[in-house]
C-alpha cells in the first residue's frame, strides 16, 4: 500500500507526456477533422533526432528538446503539404488512410536511419531527488510537470488571445465560413500541424528521457495512447487533453501495479471504447459528436 503514492506520481508524470502528444492530436482533429495516425511516428522521429543531436553536444538535455521540437515542426509542415492538404475535401476517412501511409513511411525511414534495436536514451539530466514522505520525486518528474503546465498555458494563450488563434478557432468551427471571412486556411493548417508536431517531438524527448529507452516501434503505441487521452478529455479541448492524459497515465500506473502489465494496453483500449460508447464527447468536449 505504501507504493500507491509512488505509482500515482509515476502515472501522473507519464500522463503529462501522453497529454502533450494528445494535445497535438486534438488540435489537428479540431481544425481539420482528421485523425492523424502519423502523429505517433512524429513523436518517434522527434525523440530519435533529439538523441542524435544530443550525442554531438555531449548529451545535453536541452539541445535534445530543442532539436526534437524543431524536427517535429518540420515534419508537421511536410505532412501538411503532402498528406493532409490534398484530401481536405474528400470523404471522411481519406485523411486517416493517407496519414496511415505516412505512418508506415516514417516508421521505415526511422528504421533505416536508426536501426531496429532499442537504444538507451543517453542524455544528462541532473540527478537530484527529493523525499516527500515515502515518495521519491526526481528532478525529471518535476521538470516534466512544469513543462507540461507551461505548454498548456502558452497554448491556451495562443488559441484565445492571438490573431492566429482566432483564425484557428474560426477554421475549427467551419472552414468554409472562415475562408469567406478572409482567413487563409492553408496558413492555419500549417500552423496547427507545426505546433502539434513540435509538441509531439517535445513529448518524445521528454518521455524517452524518462523511460531511458527508445526504439523505432514506440511510435504506433504513442499515437494510440495520445488518441485515447484526447478522447477521454474531449477532442478539441486543451484542458481536456491535459486531464485525459493524466487520467490515462494514472489508470495505467494502477493497472500495471495491481492487475498485470500484460493487460495494461488492453485496459486502455477498453477505456477508449467505453468512453466512446457512453460519452463520445469526452469529459470536456463540446462539438465532437456532430461529426460522428
Amino acid at each position: 500500500m505504501l507504493l500507491i503514492y509512488q505509482q500515482l506520481l509515476n502515472g501522473l508524470v507519464v500522463g503529462i507526456g501522453y497529454a502533450l502528444v494528445g494535445l497535438g492530436f486534438s488540435m489537428i482533429f479540431g481544425v481539420m477533422r482528421v485523425i492523424n495516425f502519423a502523429h505517433g511516428n512524429v513523436y518517434m522521429v522527434g525523440a530519435f533526432a533529439g538523441l542524435t543531436a544530443a550525442k554531438y553536444c555531449g548529451g545535453n538535455f536541452y539541445v535534445a528538446i530543442v532539436t526534437g521540437m524543431v524536427v517535429g515542426a518540420l515534419l508537421g509542415l511536410i505532412l501538411e503539404r503532402l498528406v493532409f492538404r490534398p484530401v481536405r475535401h474528400m470523404e471522411t476517412f481519406a485523411g486517416l488512410l493517407t496519414s496511415t501511409g505516412a505512418l508506415f513511411a516514417l516508421g521505415i525511414i526511422g528504421l533505416l536511419i536508426w536501426g531496429a534495436l532499442p537504444k538507451s536514451y543517453d542524455v544528462h539530466v541532473p540527478n537530484i531527488s527529493w523525499e516527500v514522505g515515502n515518495v521519491t520525486i526526481y528532478y525529471m518528474q518535476v521538470f516534466m510537470m512544469v513543462v507540461g503546465v507551461l505548454v498548456m498555458l502558452a497554448l491556451w494563450w495562443i488559441v484565445s488571445k492571438t490573431s492566429i488563434g482566432i483564425a484557428i478557432r474560426a477554421s475549427a468551427h467551419s472552414t468554409t465560413i472562415a475562408q469567406l471571412m478572409g482567413v487563409n486556411v492553408n496558413r492555419v493548417t500549417q500552423f496547427t500541424l507545426a505546433i502539434s508536431s513540435a509538441l509531439a517531438g517535445l513529448a518524445g524527448v521528454l518521455l524517452s528521457t524518462y523511460y531511458g529507452l527508445i526504439s523505432v516501434s514506440v511510435g504506433f503505441n504513442a499515437g494510440i495512447k495520445a488518441f485515447i487521452a484526447a478522447v477521454i478529455g474531449g477532442v478539441g479541448s486543451i484542458f481536456g487533453s491535459l486531464i485525459g492524459g493524466i487520467l490515462l497515465g494514472l489508470i495505467e500506473g494502477i493497472a500495471s501495479g495491481y492487475v498485470s502489465s500484460g493487460y495494461r494496453d488492453a485496459i486502455s483500449f477498453f477505456i477508449l471504447i467505453l468512453v466512446l460508447m457512453v460519452r463520445p464527447v469526452g469529459l470536456f468536449g463540446q462539438a465532437a459528436t456532430q461529426k460522428m
Binding site: 482528421v34 485523425i35 493517407t98 501511409g101 494510440i224 488492453a266 471504447i273 463520445p280
Partner: protein, 323 residues
C-alpha cells in the same frame, strides 16, 4: 488500364470470365506443383477471401474497419484449439469458427451504432488490439505468445491433405464461396440498404432502412467469412500465434480493397492479386517494401480514391421484369 481498354480486351474478358477461372484452376498443373508458387497462390486465395469479406463492411456499408485481422485470428484460434485440444476434425470446426468470428463481428460492430467515420476506425483498431492482447495473455487457454503447434490438416475419407494441391483447391473453393455469397448480398435488398446507409445515413433511415440492423449484419457476416478463412489458415500452416494477426495485417487487407476498388468485388480480387504477388516480386527490396505500401496507400487515396477497378465499373442492379 487505358491500354487494356483500348485493345478491347477487358469487355471480352468480362463476357468470358469463366476462362480466367479455368486458367486459375489448371495453374497447379502448369506450375507442376512448385512448392513456392503454390504457396503464393494459396495465400492469394486467402487474400481474395479476406478482401471480399472486408469489402462488405468497408465498400458496401462504408464503415471503416481496422480490426479485420482479429476476426481472422478468432476463426483460426477457434478452429486450432478445437482441433488440438478437443480432437475435432477440420470440417466440423469450420462452422464453429464461422460462428465464433460472427459473434466477435457483432461485438465489433456494436460501436458502429454510436460512432462513425474516423472514430469507428480507431474503435475497431482498439478492438483488434484487445483481441490480440487477450490471445497473448490468456496463457492457460491459448498458450500465449508461443502459439499453437501441430494443428492437424483436413482429410476426406482416408485422404489426408499433405501436398499443396488439395489445399489450393480447398482455398479456392472457400474464396469462391465467399465471393458468391458476397455477390448475392450485394444484389439483395440488404445490399442496397447498405449502400443507402453508406451514401447518406439519415436519408436511408427516412426511407425505412433499419440502420442498426444492416450495419450489424455487415459486420457479422464479414467477420464470419474472415473466420472461415482463419480456420483454413490454421490448418494450412499448422501453427498460429498472436503475432500472425497484427494491425498491420488488417491494414494490408484494407489496402488491397482500396487499391483494387472498394465496393466492387472484381476490384477487390484484383487488389488482392496485385498486392499479394508484389511483395514476392519485390522481396529484394527488404524493409523498403513497407515504405512502398505506405506511399501506395497515400497516393491511391489522393489521386485515385475509387481504386483500379472501382465502383464506377460496376454494373448497377437492374430491375428484372416480374413474372
Amino acid at each position: 488500364m487505358r491500354l487494356l481498354s483500348s485493345i478491347k480486351i477487358t469487355p471480352w474478358l468480362g463476357k468470358h470470365s469463366w476462362l480466367l477461372l479455368i486458367l486459375w484452376l489448371i495453374l497447379p498443373i502448369l506450375l507442376r506443383n512448385r512448392s513456392y508458387w503454390m504457396h503464393i497462390l494459396i495465400m492469394l486465395a486467402v487474400y481474395v477471401l479476406l478482401t471480399q469479406s472486408l469489402n462488405l463492411v468497408l465498400g458496401l456499408a462504408g464503415q471503416l474497419q481496422l480490426g479485420h485481422a482479429a476476426c481472422f485470428g478468432i476463426g483460426a484460434y477457434v478452429a486450432g484449439l478445437l482441433m488440438v485440444d478437443r480432437g475435432f476434425s477440420f470440417w466440423s470446426t469450420l462452422p464453429l469458427a464461422f460462428l465464433g468470428a460472427a459473434l466477435v463481428g457483432i461485438l465489433m460492430g456494436l460501436p458502429s451504432l454510436r460512432v462513425g467515420g474516423d472514430y469507428l476506425g480507431v474503435v475497431t483498431l482498439g478492438f483488434g488490439e484487445i483481441v490480440r492482447l487477450l490471445l497473448t495473455n490468456l496463457m492457460s487457454i491459448t498458450r500465449g505468445p508461443m502459439g499453437l503447434l501441430n494443428i492437424p490438416g483436413p482429410s476426406i475419407g482416408g485422404f489426408v491433405f499433405t501436398s499443396k494441391i488439395p489445399y489450393f483447391y480447398l482455398a479456392t473453393a472457400l474464396a469462391l464461396f465467399t465471393w458468391f455469397v458476397m455477390q448475392r448480398i450485394m444484389n439483395s435488398k440488404v445490399g442496397l440498404q447498405l449502400m443507402a446507409v453508406r451514401t447518406d445515413e439519415q436519408c436511408a433511415q427516412v426511407l425505412g432502412v433499419n440502420k442498426g440492423f444492416v450495419k450489424l449484419f455487415a459486420f457479422c457476416v464479414s467477420a464470419a467469412f474472415a473466420g472461415l478463412g482463419g480456420a483454413f489458415y490454421a490448418s494450412y500452416f499448422s501453427f498460429i500465434s498472436p503475432d500472425s494477426f497484427l494491425f498491420i495485417d488488417s491494414l494490408i487487407v484494407l489496402l488491397m480493397v482500396i487499391v483494387g476498388g472498394k465496393g466492387n468485388l472484381i476490384g477487390c480480387a484484383i487488389g488482392a492479386c496485385i498486392l499479394g504477388i508484389a511483395p514476392e516480386l519485390f522481396r529484394f527490396l527488404g524493409d523498403y517494401r513497407m515504405l512502398i505500401y505506405g506511399l501506395l496507400l497515400t497516393t491511391m487515396v489522393i489521386y485515385k480514391p475509387v481504386g483500379i477497378w472501382g465502383l464506377d465499373k460496376r454494373k448497377f442492379n437492374t430491375i428484372r421484369k416480374m413474372g
